[in-house]
Symmetry: D2
Subunit: 251 residues, 4 copies
């Protein structure tokens, strides 16, 4: 814990970025050396000797920011969306020229959500039945959530790999569609409820027993421990890592 990380935050006036500024300032092993609001300010990364850039900006800005960091030997922890295959390919190419630099691009920094998905996929090979329920605030426009769809797919893949039979289901009549969506054989239900932020619950059932894994995100602060974990680990993981699960000790 004697290491003090010199950290810069890009997108520091956004909602996530401003939380990250606070989180870095409160971390006893980090020093906030720069905040960056535009491309013109990227040079501050070099001037301040930043070791890690946290990028929480917008799709139009993130690529330029991350490439600038890599070219200057600065690691990057990225929560911005918009990294398509083309951009990722170019970034990997750039990283081969800077083999000591690490970049983490993570679609979800809530450690609990990632663990819930990992645990569910592992457990799903041992249970006859599995279903997913996600619960979100009622302003959400898509259903089911991307996280729940991702969880269901990982469960389906794990069951396929282990040769598990489909979840039993004798339903004959369900006119209203109460049985939910089917993602590769895994049922997914979406609840919309005022008061909630983002939750997912995985139900696993077998003869005489049930295992339930539930994650609740109450607040965007829930992403900050994952961001800080990324800062602490990124230098030890050179190259591109996709997904925070690559940094978690799950063995």
């Amino acid at each position: 814990m004697t290491k003090m990380w010199k950290v810069a935050v890009a997108g520091s006036n956004g909602r996530m970025g401003s939380e990250a500024v606070k989180a870095v300032e409160n971390a006893t092993d980090m020093e906030l050396v720069a905040t960056i609001s535009s491309a013109a300010e990227l040079k501050k990364l070099v001037e301040t000797g930043a070791e890690v850039l946290i990028d929480l900006t917008v799709p139009a800005a993130t690529e330029q920011n991350v490439r600038f960091a890599v070219e200057n030997g600065i690691h990057a922890v990225v929560g911005t969306t918009g990294w398509d295959e083309h951009k990722l390919h170019n970034l990997r190419t750039l990283l081969t020229q800077h083999p000591e630099v690490g970049v983490l691009i993570a679609p979800n920094f809530a450690i609990g959500a990632i663990l819930a998905t990992e645990f569910a996929a592992k457990a799903a090979q041992y249970f006859e039945s599995v279903e997913v329920i996600e619960m979100h605030h009622p302003q959400k426009v898509d259903a089911p959530s991307g996280t729940a769809a991702h969880t269901a797919q990982k469960i389906a893949d794990a069951r396929a790999a282990a040769g598990v039979a489909p979840s039993p289901d004798a339903t004959e009549t369900d006119e209203g569609g109460s049985r939910g969506a089917d993602i590769d054989g895994v049922k997914v239900h979406a609840v919309r409820l005022r008061g909630l932020t983002a939750s997912q619950e995985i139900l696993l059932g077998d003869e005489g027993q049930q295992l339930v894994i539930r994650h609740d995100s109450f607040d965007r602060k829930s992403f900050m421990p994952g961001v800080l974990l990324g800062v602490r680990e990124v230098a030890a993981h050179p190259g591109l890592t996709h997904g925070l699960d690559g940094y978690l000790n799950l063995r």
Copy 2:
């Protein structure tokens, strides 16, 4: 508790009936005076001085059993299905000739399930959002469960009576049908999971808070406290009562 009820059980060799026999035998305020397996044995009701008949038989037998009881001044607690409007009408007519006799016909004797429905309907007038999730064993052929559909309808009625707006829902895309069935404006989700018997969960949400009411039935023994409550209360409720909630003190 000094009163000792003389109780007979019809359908005593069925699954529910045999549980009822055990429950009556274990109740300190009841005496099992007769078990009845066929119409020919109905006279035992009179011979043994039975005060209450528990009918847990089959649709083809229940009407004859209950009418025999009423005609002989014996109260009846009935869990058998098949009581259509025609049979109920005839029973009401018969009861007018025996105004001291009480009959309880209850589709569900699980006190907790009835309370869950009642509480949910009361609470639903105070919350912006409400959804229902029911969870059952995977041999169940219909979805959603009758209990969940009944709960959703009672919630919808209570909200209509109180002038509550529909639950907010900004969903634009839901190709797979993850948002579940819609019962008069209340979303209902059905989960099928090995290991479960019968559960229902009502989620109520408002700004900054959530109220969850959940009932789990693990075993058909869960119906017995309700059956015994029916035996103790039926004499005090002459005429026909439909639903055990009529005997519960919910004020």
Copy 3:
């Protein structure tokens, strides 16, 4: 809903008061006519024609504020603590001179928490076992929470009134005290967990079934629907009402 309530908020620069200001401003049937930060500003109540005063101040100020309101024929909805028996007695005396004025003093405005307690007390007469688990943020200095203690006491009272036996418990060894606190025969457990605000869960068990009633408060916004309900109902309830449950339609 054509009635527009003229509402004043005392304590408008406090945490709860500032939420109340926002809530009143957002309510389509209310008009915020005054905010009051000191005794010197109380006259604004009269000048603006306020009909209802929301008092969310401090124990040292609340009595003067409420008495001023009552003396001027203005109803009051009070969430401030510190109303001991002496102050309540004096207020009741004052109200006899203003029989048309209503005052609500409520220790808890979270409608869901009040409903959870009410429902639990009603259900507890029908279940063999009942226990309470409260869960709060780890800065809380007292355990168990006042709400949980209140819930346990109401459950104990309801069971005593219904003649229910104590919850069965064969525990012989429990050196570490895992079975929790005992409030008049009802076990209460307190969990402290980062990320939570205030939750309580009541578990009711019987042969083969379980009923769970859970309330989660995620945010102090959860109190606002109860405050607004108080504003809408206070004029229809002249005299002193203690506890928001007096305004809820629970029959």
Copy 4:
């Protein structure tokens, strides 16, 4: 799945043993070749060509049964208690003379309970707060349950190894003991509720998020998938394995 395992069950007239007989008979990849009720019947193991012995007997019988199996080259899956260090030492010695034989001794065959403990210990290194709640039927004489104590200890060990600070707790007053037992820094709460069999819930909390892992055992049938897994895996794990987690694929 073409392999057909020849399986014998010792203790076949006990509660667990009779469940195991049914489970083996229902398994499509197993053949029940013998049931053993006494030491005199052990020779049936050899006569029937049994490959795996399931021992669900009593402490006084299990050692003799398992040693007989090992001496005859038969694998053993053991759920009987009473294996102290002395007996285990002797068994290990015997196994060195039969290096191809596998023995599994498992205190708990409920796969879900084992997974819950494993997942909780892994997750506990990433969360600020963690507490354990166990819930059992009210005939249980000890509190907290052995499983919950074991889970709490594994959590404590994982946090110690990862250098995680103790869960924050500002409690100053708790006269009644609502905060539960302390197992190496991890709070454990025990609930006793009619209707439940055996449940444990691990709550993990961090800034703005919560992860809950819950296992419910409804019935002793919940042990059978673990017993069958043991039968299928024991030959591939020569020597002594303690705990079913040694056979689970958790990477």
